[in-house]
Symmetry: C2
Subunit: 186 residues, 2 copies
């Protein structure tokens, strides 16, 4: 498994961005390689191509499976496990988006629900709790919105994302057509 310069660059870049996207370097590299390599790869091939240890590959694959970003395949007469990226690029993006929503929002929502049950004991606490409530409202709305987005079909997502500043106009259009009294569909 020898990578071309461009594939190498792509793989190394994903490794560097990995930590910002929620996984570690080698997981990022593995995901990149499986994304651009059309044929399934086994653990030894990944280790050789990325020059990382076999154990690291095993842990990385475990994590990518937990994210549901890779798919397992088997070849007749070969006992090794082979992997490909799971689904289309859009499928993968949706998966990462949804998983990050869970990791980055849910724990905070859960804590804030707890804290907001308590009675503030003085003025400072009341003010602090007001701010926490604002944080909670915003994050809850964001969480719902992210969930809504990740449930849209690819076609709808593309339409939405291509709107550009038409999005603002569309929101106005809605208010005109439906009289502004709609919105909280669920």
């Amino acid at each position: 498994m020898k990578l071309t310069d461009d594939s190498q660059a792509f793989v190394l870049h994903f490794g560097e961005m990995g930590s910002r996207w929620g996984f570690n370097r080698t997981v990022g590299q593995m995901l990149a390689l499986l994304t651009i390599h059309s044929e399934p790869l086994n653990a030894d091939q990944l280790a050789e191509a990325l020059k990382i240890s076999r154990g690291n590959v095993s842990m990385g694959l475990k994590e990518l499976q937990a994210w549901r970003l890779v798919e397992l395949h088997h070849r007749p007469g070969d006992r090794k496990d082979y992997f490909t990226a799971a689904g289309s690029i859009w499928d993968m993006a949706r998966t990462v988006f949804e998983e990050r929503r869970k990791r980055e929002l849910d724990p905070t929502l859960s804590l804030l629900r707890q804290l907001l049950l308590n009675e503030p004991q003085d003025g400072a606490e009341t003010l602090a709790q007001e701010r926490m409530r604002e944080v909670y409202s915003l994050l809850e709305l964001l969480d719902q919105f992210a969930t809504t987005l990740s449930r849209l079909s690819e076609a709808d997502l593309q339409r939405l994302m291509k709107l550009g500043s038409g999005l603002g106009r569309l929101l106005d259009l809605k208010d005109k057509v439906r009289g502004g009294a709609s919105g909280s569909g669920e």
Copy 2:
């Protein structure tokens, strides 16, 4: 500066979530404390409340200023620098969102633009480049969409995020009203 249990919990939680949100533990804690504390705080107060070193506070404040998440204040007859969270919770969320868009998408877009200029030399490279092109298209669209979102007024953002599954219906509505030929506003 003694924190109540709830404030403490909030601050510690932000510290733990910090790394998932793009900053380190103490930066997360400082942001949390400044968010729930209505009065401006100086560096010594932050260091004491969070039990971290003065140097760490200085670096953290520098980073929060780079993010434009804190505002500097001065008190008459006091040479110390005082800080508050910059703007409303919505302002801060918008700032974080926009900064993360830049950090998490722009470097990859930039690299992919480079790589996609090169001619693939064989079948495998052609396939790899096709996948890179798909990644590029998706990330570019996402980048535009994120930019669009971060430019919406708070009111529009709230309306949009409250749509729930009404968002899908709204997209259909648009196609009906404008005949489906619109969309690429810019």
